[in-house]
């Protein structure tokens, strides 16, 4: 048991030894922020679902210690039963009530939600999940994705104080994901509901998460703030195809004609697809390392809008794929990763401290 | 030798077991016994039950079998005459009326089904008690159940067969009911028409009616048939 330095946090320490029924053991100790989204990331069988079950109280081990803010959910003396934990749980396999229609499943949650903290409205959720037309159907009559959407809606309508989501979007198509993800994020930020989000998709994780935990075989491999973690070379997932960084700043310019906005870093600007952000509002952008290229001098006549001056901070050839090199570049104090071929890095003779131009092909708005 | 198969009314179980054993020792003839209420045995006989002899608890059923030619008309005998008794596990006065009036629950056999029940009803009517005690009556389907009601003391008193009192371990207290209070509880036996052992059956019937056998039967608590 570690001392709780921060009262406003989710503290999760779980020890589950291997048993004769299972060779799987879990041993983690996490101090998670009590706002924003924490991603649980890791290979199949690494214990992600098991951790969520412990947090929900569906699995109990009395050598564990789980605490949200100043309420103890689990320690060696007490164990708050699951129905007293103010959580919403989206199960990996939907887990709808087969005896109730989709609507019945939602009403089940609404009837039991704490009325005084209703921040999530029925109609919003129905509209967002696009489940209006299937409300009368029983779970057995729904498609995989429809079931999953009802399950998400149900978990939201219980008006949780902590949302646990086990690969909630795995069965959904891109378009739906792109509708749901930003909403989820905004909702939870607005209502101050922290989310613990299990996903296999780094893309989703990066889009959504502030904090990230990488698991392997029941142990924490990496953990930390997503900005830091993503910008760090050599962590287990900077080698993923999707290695990315998140850039935070304020909107400084709009161009409604071209559907673009600009964010300023130091004295340079990055263009991105215009969202709902007003001038002066904060915005988070995701820049994938694969979208970043490097040139030695500023070249005009290119379709790449974003061409910024940066300094090479670090260079690492990927030990697993030696054709690739990851370069960290600093624009003022903001780190950006560029994934380029090792051959290019050699041709350009990149060196630490060298000043170069980064070309950023595409930028995604996170919030 | 072929086995002789007897269908015997339940109230006669104890005597017939003894008599069958005696008979087997005496003649070497094997005897098989089946028990049941007279009504059941009657229905079974009508539907081909493989019995040679039927020892009923009444006279009506053997007669009915003769009528419908399931039994040999010349074979009917009254092999025993029941002795009705008022019995209680707890102390009992000598007066029937007072004992009955003082009791809470009185067990009798179902008058519709069991001859002992019919006799009990007649006795109560003869004593002009029927109307006063009717509310206290509990009925056993047969005389065996009636005995159990009293034995378990759920009924404090009951009309049972005197033979049961003698056979049972718990003797309790008994008042024999005078036979004038009710019509005779005659138990008749017949040889069944489809029996393949009619001669052996006749021999057994003869044994059953032999004075020494009849004497044994009275020792089990039955009245002598022609008393």
């Amino acid at each position: 048991m570690t001392p709780a330095d921060d009262k406003k946090a989710l503290h999760i320490q779980i020890t589950q030894p291997a048993s004769k029924q299972s060779h799987f053991s879990l041993d983690i100790n996490l101090q998670l922020p009590s706002t924003g989204v924490t991603a649980l990331f890791g290979p199949s069988g690494s214990g992600k679902t098991t951790i969520l079950r412990h947090i929900a109280g569906l699995e109990v081990s009395n050598s564990s210690h789980i605490r949200l803010d100043d309420t103890i959910w689990q320690n060696s003396q007490t164990s708050l039963p699951p129905h007293k934990r103010p959580i919403g749980f989206v199960f990996q396999d939907a887990n709808l009530f087969e005896h109730l229609t989709a609507e019945g499943n939602l009403r089940f949650a609404m009837k039991r939600a704490k009325k005084d903290q209703s921040v999530i409205s029925y109609h919003d959720v129905i509209r967002l999940m696009d489940i209006d037309s299937i409300l009368a159907q029983y779970p057995a009559q729904l498609s995989g994705g429809e079931r999953q959407r009802v399950a998400i809606a149900r978990a939201l309508l219980i008006q949780p104080k902590l949302l646990l989501m086990d690969e909630p979007l795995a069965a959904l198509d891109e378009t739906l994901k792109q509708d749901i993800l930003p909403y989820l994020e905004k909702l939870c930020r607005r209502a101050n509901i922290p989310i613990i989000y299990v996903s296999h998709s780094l893309d989703e994780v990066i889009r959504l998460a502030d904090h990230m935990v990488v698991l392997d075989k029941g142990r924490v491999v990496e953990e930390g703030d997503i900005h830091t973690l993503l910008g760090k070379l050599g962590t287990s997932f900077s080698r993923y195809q999707d290695a990315s960084v998140v850039v935070v700043g304020t909107v400084t310019r709009h161009s409604p004609e071209w559907g673009l906005s600009w964010l300023t870093i130091g004295n340079q600007a990055i263009a991105f697809k215009q969202g709902n952000e007003a001038l002066g509002e904060p915005v988070r952008l995701r820049i994938q390392s694969r979208d970043v290229s490097i040139t030695l001098d500023k070249q005009d006549g290119s379709s790449i809008l974003n061409r910024l001056t940066a300094v090479v901070d670090d260079i690492e050839r990927d030990p697993k794929d030696p054709s690739q090199t990851m370069v960290r570049l600093m624009i003022d104090n903001t780190a950006i990763l560029a994934k380029i071929t090792a051959f290019s890095a050699h041709q350009l003779a990149l060196q630490k401290g060298q000043s170069v131009i980064v070309q950023i092909k595409s930028v995604a708005v996170l919030s | 030798a072929d086995t002789l198969h007897l269908a015997v009314a339940s109230n006669f179980i104890s005597p017939i077991k003894q008599l069958a054993q005696d008979y087997e020792e005496e003649t070497g003839q094997k005897i098989q016994l089946s028990f049941g209420s007279s009504g059941k045995l009657f229905a079974q006989i009508q539907h081909g039950a493989p019995y040679d002899i039927f020892l009923s608890a009444d006279v009506a059923k053997p007669q009915a079998l003769i009528q419908s030619q399931f039994a040999l008309a010349d074979s009917i005998v009254t092999y025993a005459k029941g002795q009705l008794a008022l019995w209680s596990v707890t102390p009992l006065g000598s007066d029937i009326k007072i004992s009955l009036q003082n009791s809470n629950r009185i067990a009798i056999a179902n008058p519709k089904l069991a001859p002992y029940g019919k006799a009990a009803q007649e006795s109560l009517q003869a004593l002009s008690l029927w109307n006063t005690v009717e509310q206290k009556l509990v009925q056993g389907e047969n005389i065996g159940q009636t005995y159990q009601f009293v034995y378990s003391q759920n009924a404090d008193i009951g009309f049972v067969a005197y033979s049961q009192v003698l056979a049972g371990k718990v003797k309790g207290n008994t008042i024999k009911i005078p036979s004038e209070l009710h019509s005779d509880i005659n138990q008749a036996g017949v040889i069944l028409s489809h029996s393949k052992n009619v001669e052996l059956s006749r021999a057994f019937m003869a044994f059953l009616m032999r004075p020494d056998t009849q004497a044994k039967i009275t020792q089990f608590g039955y009245a002598a048939p022609n008393s």
């Binding site: 929900a56 109280g57 569906l58 039963p81 699951p82 129905h83 007293k84 934990r85 103010p86 959580i87 919403g88 749980f89 199960f91 396999d93 887990n95 709808l96 009530f97 087969e98 005896h99 089940f108 949650a109 039991r112 939600a113 704490k114 029983y138 057995a140 009559q141 149900r154 978990a155 219980i158 646990l164 | 209420s37 009504g39 059941k40 009657f42 229905a43 059923k61 009915a64 629950r105 067990a107 179902n110 519709k112 089904l113 009556l137 509990v138 009925q139 056993g140 389907e141 159940q145 159990q148 009601f149 378990s152 003391q153 759920n154 009924a155």
Partner: protein, 232 residues
């Protein structure tokens, strides 16, 4: 078809008895079946076996032992009479209790199996939706166990209607109080009143058929939701 007033009394009594017994058994069996379906205790096997035990004794014999236990001198009866309670044998209440004892396993088993078939998924989902153990028991477990409840009601009801030996023994065949239809039919058969027996039997079978067909109708309706047409 002509019925004596005794027959009609017996019919009403039977209906009352069977409905009451089925109702009470379902109430009692629900927590028992739940416990049996969920517990890991070693007591589970023995208790399960004990529930089924009354079945293996012939009904009249079971009735006999009940008489012994429930009589004012008996183990249970004496306690009851010390508490000032009226004796159970030869009363409708006694009949209800005896019938419950005898039909218990037929009600417990289907419900227990239905609870087992639910699995932990739906209950866990309910737990995460602020549903307390009792709440999820009533709003999730019981609705999902519906086919089991219907089976239980059918078997419990039918068995109580036809039940006979125990009733005969503990009831004492008192008109309008403990003389149920099964005894009435039995009496007719024993008294060689076969015509009357046929009439009553037919009536009983017809009536039971309607009740059971109704219960199955409910069950059918429920299933068509879960299992779609398919080829299997």
């Amino acid at each position: 078809m002509h019925l004596t007033s005794e027959d009609i009394d017996a019919i009403w009594l039977t209906l009352k008895l069977a409905s009451l017994v089925t109702f009470l058994l379902i109430i009692i069996s629900t927590p028992l079946a739940w416990w049996l379906a969920r517990t890991q205790s070693w007591l589970k096997g023995p208790i399960n076996a004990i529930v089924a035990m009354p079945l293996v004794l012939p009904p009249t014999v079971l009735g006999f032992y009940l008489l012994l236990f429930l009589s004012p001198q008996g183990a249970i009866g004496s306690i009851m009479s010390n508490m000032g309670l009226p004796p159970l044998p030869f009363s409708f209440t006694g009949l209800v209790i005896a019938s419950m004892l005898y039909s218990l396993p037929f009600v417990v088993q289907p419900i227990q199996n239905a609870f087992l078939a639910i699995g932990k998924g739906p209950l866990e989902a309910a737990a995460t939706l602020r549903s307390s153990p009792l709440n999820r028991f009533f709003y999730v477990a019981i609705p999902l166990a519906r086919p089991g409840y219907i089976s239980a009601a059918i078997l419990g009801f039918a068995h109580t209607v036809g039940e006979f030996g125990v009733v005969l023994m503990i009831g004492g065949n008192i008109a309008s109080e403990t003389r149920v239809i099964s005894i009435q039919i039995y009496d007719h058969v024993e008294a060689l009143e076969y015509g009357q027996a046929h009439t009553l039997s037919l009536l009983m079978v017809a009536f039971a058929f309607i009740v059971l067909a109704f219960l199955y109708g409910v069950q059918k309706h429920q299933k068509s939701k879960a299992v779609s047409g398919g080829l299997l």
